[in-house]
């Protein structure tokens, strides 16, 4: 990785990595930061889609240490969990006030106080970055991603999508989300330009797309939901040649609207953080399904399906969690497989995502997906979370609105009770907190 980055800096030194920053200028800051680190295996970085943030991540990478990205939405508790791995946080200028307010004890490296020195380090790590699971159950698990993992992914997608130095790539993902590593590393290895899109602009990216002539769009499908609501999908974004979506289910009607607005090739990607960014793709065509399939596993990786669950193997699969003994692996025919917990089915279009295994229950002999009940409730205008009460052996629906599903669901899937709540609780990942609701149910 180190050599690939250095080669890129040399080859593309006159290219722009950001609208006003050349690769040459970028390398200078990377170099300076890399000589102001401490000799720890892990180093945390806090910031938000900036020149300094990207340079900090790459500085840690070229010194063969592991970076842990911290989002500016993390609370004290979550940052303290990260500080079990390192004592040091690099603080970019935009994050200075935020970190001061949190009153955290750590060794801070402030980027406006860097010295002109040369520093050698002894401690090296095989891991490029480490992220944490959202932790819908229990405490967040630490996921380390190695050089081999990341390079396997990057080599596959750069070749598959023919990404090159003329590309102008959107950077929509928060850095605590591994999809942002796609943006940053793909750009650096190809000499392409990155266009950071801050939170405020993510609802209405139409002007930025046009102004910067973005050629590769990559975001969560939610962005399309917002743009559609604000009637921005009637616009025309003809600079975009390739569109990638990942992180959530991609609804077919939105993919169609986006296709009309961009005339680009659209790919739906899928992959758990443990399998490095993404591991399957589907080139969008209308399949007459509500949700776009997740398609085909990358040619370089392997998979099998056991009891509907997707198992993955290959060079993109991580080594194991660093802060728990829990093992997500199973050996089958002498090969180590990662059990994703995602239920899928094989169709003529490749794989289709069904649901999370944790949310599948068995009731009176029927297999029921709790997420399916919620999807039907949503279609009928109610945000809801379905919970299975193991003690009473019944389904309970927490809903923000009164709702009658008798006409819309087969009787075996019907919730026994509907509990109306003012507002459904959210977890740190901004998803409805099923675990919390289940606890609530048990307390009653």
């Amino acid at each position: 990785m180190l050599n690939r980055i250095k080669e890129s800096f040399k080859k593309y030194k006159d290219n722009y990595i950001l609208p006003d920053i050349t690769y040459e200028k970028f390398e200078k800051l990377v170099d300076k930061i890399s000589n102001n680190l401490v000799d720890e295996k892990f180093i945390a970085v806090i910031g938000e889609k900036s020149f300094e943030l990207y340079a900090s991540l790459i500085a840690i990478t070229i010194k063969q240490k592991t970076f842990i990205p911290i989002s500016m939405s993390f609370n004290k508790e979550r940052i303290e969990e990260i500080l079990k791995f390192t004592n040091t946080i690099i603080v970019t200028n935009e994050a200075k006030d935020y970190i001061k307010k949190l009153n955290i004890k750590a060794n801070f490296i402030f980027l406006d106080q860097l010295k002109d020195t040369k520093k050698e380090y002894k401690i090296k790590s095989d891991y490029i970055y480490m992220l944490f699971t959202s932790g819908s159950t229990g405490k967040p698990k630490a996921i380390p991603i190695s050089q081999t993992n990341l390079l396997s992914y990057l080599d596959f997608v750069i070749d598959k999508f023919k990404i090159n130095e003329n590309d102008i790539i959107s950077q929509t993902f928060d850095i605590s989300f591994d999809l942002s590593m796609h943006d940053i590393f793909v750009a650096i290895l190809t000499g392409a330009k990155l266009i950071p899109i801050q939170k405020t602009y993510l609802f209405m990216p139409n002007k930025i797309i046009k102004k910067e002539k973005i050629t590769i769009w990559f975001s969560v499908p939610s962005v399309l939901v917002y743009m559609d609501k604000l009637k921005l999908l009637n616009d025309n974004f003809n600079s975009i040649r390739l569109s990638l979506f990942c992180g959530e289910a991609l609804p077919t009607y939105l993919a169609k609207k986006w296709q009309k607005a961009t005339n680009s090739k659209i790919y739906n990607l899928y992959g758990p953080t443990e399998a490095t960014i993404a591991i399957s793709y589907f080139k969008f065509v209308d399949t007459n399904t509500k949700i776009v399939p997740i398609g085909k596993i990358f040619d370089t990786q392997e998979y099998l399906i056991k009891d509907d669950e997707l198992y993955l193997s290959g060079s993109q699969i991580f080594d194991g969690y660093l802060n728990t003994k829990f093992s997500p692996f199973e050996i089958i025919n002498n090969k180590k497989y990662y059990k994703t917990g995602d239920l899928v089915k094989q169709t003529k279009y490749g794989l289709e995502y069904i649901a999370r295994k944790d949310n599948q229950i068995k009731l009176n002999g029927y297999r029921i997906e709790l997420e399916e009940i919620e999807a039907v409730a949503r279609e009928n205008g109610a945000n809801s979370v379905a919970v299975f009460d193991d003690r009473k052996n019944e389904i309970v629906l927490f809903s923000e609105k009164k709702i009658d599903l008798t006409k819309h669901l087969p009787s075996y899937m019907l919730p026994k009770r509907v509990i109306i709540v003012d507002k459904l609780p959210l977890n740190t990942n901004m998803k409805f907190d099923r675990k919390k609701l289940k606890e609530l149910l048990w307390k009653k």
Binding site: T200, Y201, M204, K207, S222, L230, L232, D235, L426, M430
Partner: protein
């Protein structure tokens, strides 16, 4: 403007003033923002043209107020 503040107050996760960027500062999340826009369009009987709008503006109370008054 009080009506707008009231609508936002219902969903705010932290303190804000009329020039706070509600999204960037994490006062409201994206789902709430969409709901707030629908509620404002309904209450003030306006339809906001998002094609022409500056995102920095519509995410502050002051900016929202200005936009509604123009529409």
């Amino acid at each position: 403007m009080e009506k707008i503040i009231e609508i936002i107050q219902k969903r705010a996760k932290s303190e804000f003033d009329i020039d706070t960027n509600l999204i960037q500062e994490g006062v409201i999340d994206s789902i709430d923002f969409m709901n707030i826009i629908s509620e404002i369009e309904e209450k003030f009987n306006v339809e906001i043209d998002f094609l022409e709008i500056d995102p920095q503006k519509i995410t502050t109370i002051n900016g929202l107020w200005e936009i509604i008054n123009v529409e």
